[in-house]
């Protein structure tokens, strides 16, 4: 069997009193496209930092291509895009891509990396003058320019507007077809659903699900009930019913439940006037909420 790209064995990481990871075992094979999904503070970034040797585990072991993640040979097979990082800002896009390529044994030409990231028009621009979305594209170009076997993207579309995100996802998807290993963290569910063939869901430092997007969705049977109402819906109205979550946003209420009929009947009984009702099947977002809803879940 081929060496896995990433192997974490019972990894724990504490920062002072904070337990960022509480025993994570994860094996990512070469060629897999994996999304690490979870709310803020779930341990996603810590996990990717451990994979890359940017942090050392408090307990357990991390291997990158069968080597220590701090080994230069292992790093030479990885391209990385981090959430917060600076560059030599006075250098132009092409100069930076050329520089980063030189760190790797078999880089692609800077032009190719720039084309993959869709930055042809900005290749002569100074990095410090790029817009937020262009900057993310530059980081992507820097991640792929060494033609690495695996790329790690930590929240690659964070801070992008909808359009830039869409375009950037297309860039990643196109790259994914080249058979490279891709590990990305995200808290955008659609991103994970669209890009990955495997989703690892993190919550509070643990892996709470690890499956394909469709399997994750199927773990939550039920419906999403969504309606508008002028009457405040009190949680007590729905006591005893099987609710996964309930969210209120202005006058709109969204309930995730395995018993939508009972919920609607109870609401009717309590005199809640319902407008604009929608009952739909679960999407990945619902599944995610259900998997991580320990805090939001109704006590009853």
């Amino acid at each position: 069997m081929a060496t896995p790209a990433v192997e974490l064995v019972d990894v724990r990481k504490t920062f002072g009193h904070l337990e960022a990871l509480r025993g994570v075992s994860l094996r990512i094979e070469q060629g897999e496209i994996v999304a690490i999904l979870g709310p803020n503070g779930a341990g996603k970034t810590t996990c990717i930092n451990l994979m890359l040797g940017l942090r050392r585990p408090t307990a357990g072991t991390a291997r990158l291509f069968g080597l220590s993640p701090e080994d230069r040979r292992a790093r030479s097979r990885c391209g990385v895009m981090l959430q917060e990082s600076g560059l030599l800002g006075q250098l132009r896009v092409r100069e930076l891509v050329d520089l980063f390529g030189s760190y790797y044994p078999h880089p692609m030409t800077p032009e190719k990396a720039i084309a993959i990231a869709g930055l042809q028009d900005q290749s002569k621009m100074q990095a410090s003058k790029l817009s937020g979305g262009q900057r993310q594209r530059l980081y992507f170009a820097l991640a792929v320019c060494g033609d690495p076997a695996a790329i790690f993207l930590d929240e690659p579309t964070v801070g992008m507007d909808v359009e830039a995100r869409r375009a950037f996802l297309d860039v990643i998807r196109e790259f994914a077809e080249s058979g490279k290993t891709i590990v990305l963290t995200t808290h955008y569910l659609e991103e994970a659903d669209e890009l990955a063939e495997r989703i690892v869901v993190f919550d509070q430092g643990r892996v709470i699900a690890d499956a394909s997007p469709s399997e994750i969705k199927s773990q939550v049977a039920g419906k999403r009930v969504s309606f508008a109402t002028a009457t405040p819906v009190q949680e007590a109205y729905l006591a005893g019913l099987n609710l996964v979550s309930m969210e209120r946003e202005a006058d709109r209420v969204r309930i995730l439940t395995s018993t939508p009929e009972e919920v609607l009947w109870r609401l009717h009984q309590c005199g809640v006037e319902i407008h604009d009702l929608e009952v739909t099947g679960v999407n990945l977002e619902d599944a995610f909420v259900s998997l991580t809803s320990h805090r939001a879940r109704m006590a009853t």
């Binding site: 081929a2 060496t3 890359l52 940017l54 942090r55 050392r56 291509f65 069968g66 080597l67 230069r72 040979r73 292992a74 790093r75 030479s76 097979r77 990885c78 990385v80 981090l82 917060e84 990082s85 600076g86 560059l87 030599l88 800002g89 006075q90 250098l91 100069e95 930076l96 050329d98 520089l99 980063f100 030189s102 760190y103 790797y104 044994p105 100074q126 980081y139 820097l142 060494g146």
Partner: protein, 264 residues
């Protein structure tokens, strides 16, 4: 799992070193506020403090002021290139989290530091050449070719302890406080060491402190090259070696502290 199966290899280090040095140099050259101050400040100081008296001698000695002050401001030029490049440069790079992405790439951190040293040396060399050219044209200073070369060599090599000082500041101070901290330490120190005004003309109390400062002994190896020493070369070299060990020891402590905060 066998090694052949992995077929791992890495980019050749000399090539990476060349690319990194070139990129950093290009980046610095494009910050005119930085590159111009490094080159013009020493020339300006020499024009103010040395040029009017270039052919006179220092009181009660037969030392000509021109070459003496040129050596002083040469020492100032190189040491400030080192201290500021490392002090402020490293603190800013840390503030912008430049070290983070770099750490995740296959670029060895030793190469990045070595490239910074080479860059600081190149900047120092530029500013020295500019100062020497100015001093010989505007001040009519004529020295044997060996003297020019000895002076340049000593100023570059003797500045090593000041790289340690710069690194210690760069890893200890934040990006906003680094310029202030650097100036607060470096300016009084170079003044008290006689780089602006000869030590003999400084207040007695400062004259007593001067022989303990690294920049004083650094100045001595430069004044020695133009024939105006007040300390033997051996003594100056010993002092500079002690300071190198102390300042690099301090720098390594701060680097480890910074790294363990971020990467452990």
């Amino acid at each position: 799992m066998s090694i052949t199966e992995l077929r791992l290899d890495v980019a050749p280090l000399p090539y990476v070193m060349w690319k990194q040095t070139r990129a950093q140099l290009l980046n610095s050259l494009r910050i005119p506020a930085f590159s111009l101050t490094t080159v013009f400040l020493p020339i300006m100081f020499f024009a103010f403090f040395g040029l009017p008296y270039v052919h006179q001698t220092i009181d009660h000695t037969n030392i000509t002021i021109g070459p003496y002050m040129m050596a002083s401001f040469g020492a100032y030029a190189v040491s400030s290139a080192m201290v500021f490049n490392f002090g402020i440069g490293v603190a800013m790079a840390r503030g912008q989290k430049m070290d983070l992405l770099q750490r995740a790439t296959p670029l060895p951190s030793g190469v990045a530091i070595a490239a910074t040293v080479v860059n600081a040396m190149l900047f120092a060399l530029f500013s020295l050449i500019a100062l020497f050219v100015f001093a010989s044209i505007a001040g009519g200073i004529r020295l044997p070719i060996e003297t020019w070369l000895t002076l340049t060599f000593r100023l570059l090599v003797g500045a090593v302890p000041l790289i340690g000082l710069g690194m210690a500041i760069g890893y200890a101070a934040g990006p906003n406080s680094a310029p202030a901290v650097t100036n607060l330490i470096y300016l009084p120190m170079s003044f008290a060491s006689g780089l602006f005004i000869p030590v003999a003309q400084l207040p007695t109390i400062i004259q007593k402190v001067a022989p303990y400062l690294p920049t004083y002994h650094y100045g001595q190896i430069a004044w020695n090259a133009v024939g105006a020493p007040t300390e033997s070369m051996e003594s100056a070299v010993v002092w500079l070696t002690i300071w190198t060990v102390l300042l690099f020891g301090l720098a390594v402590r701060f680097i480890r502290l910074d790294q363990s905060r971020k990467f452990s």
